[in-house]
Symmetry: C2
Subunit: 86 residues, 2 copies
């Protein structure tokens, strides 16, 4: 399944969250990652992130089962190429 992850995390935990996300997904914008993950890899990622963040932090996942169903567009600077979707 294709996953878009956005996060709003306290500065002191940001680097740790990014390091974990980088092992699973592609960094496309400041606090946005994308990537294709199996359900088990997605759960593994969530367990790791849950250990890092605290209740005030917010991590949001959008997931699409058929990545052909999601399109991407942008204004301004082009997103770091993940060109996996389009």
């Amino acid at each position: 399944m294709y996953i878009i992850c956005t996060y709003d995390v306290a500065e002191k935990r940001c680097v740790k969250v990014m390091k974990v996300l980088r092992k699973y997904m592609f960094h496309v914008q400041n606090s946005v990652f994308e990537g294709e993950l199996t359900p088990s890899k997605f759960n593994e990622l969530k367990v790791k992130l849950d250990k890092i963040i605290n209740p005030d932090d917010a991590i949001l996942f959008y997931f699409v089962y058929e990545n052909k169903k999601i399109k991407k567009d942008y204004l301004g600077k082009a997103p770091k190429s993940s060109n996996i979707i389009i």
Copy 2:
């Protein structure tokens, strides 16, 4: 079509970008908006945003034609309820 918008914009333009996005979409996380828009409303939104941002800013749109195809999950603080998807 259902749209997720994330942005990485210079501080001095953030408020303007947020004001425009609020007229079209729902603010769910720090720099993340969601909403159902017709193609013509989406183009109208892009024209307005394009007038505000400069080439170093980055606005990313993911769009799904069938909003039933996209699911949402979160860790930490619950996203401001948009409950449009789920």
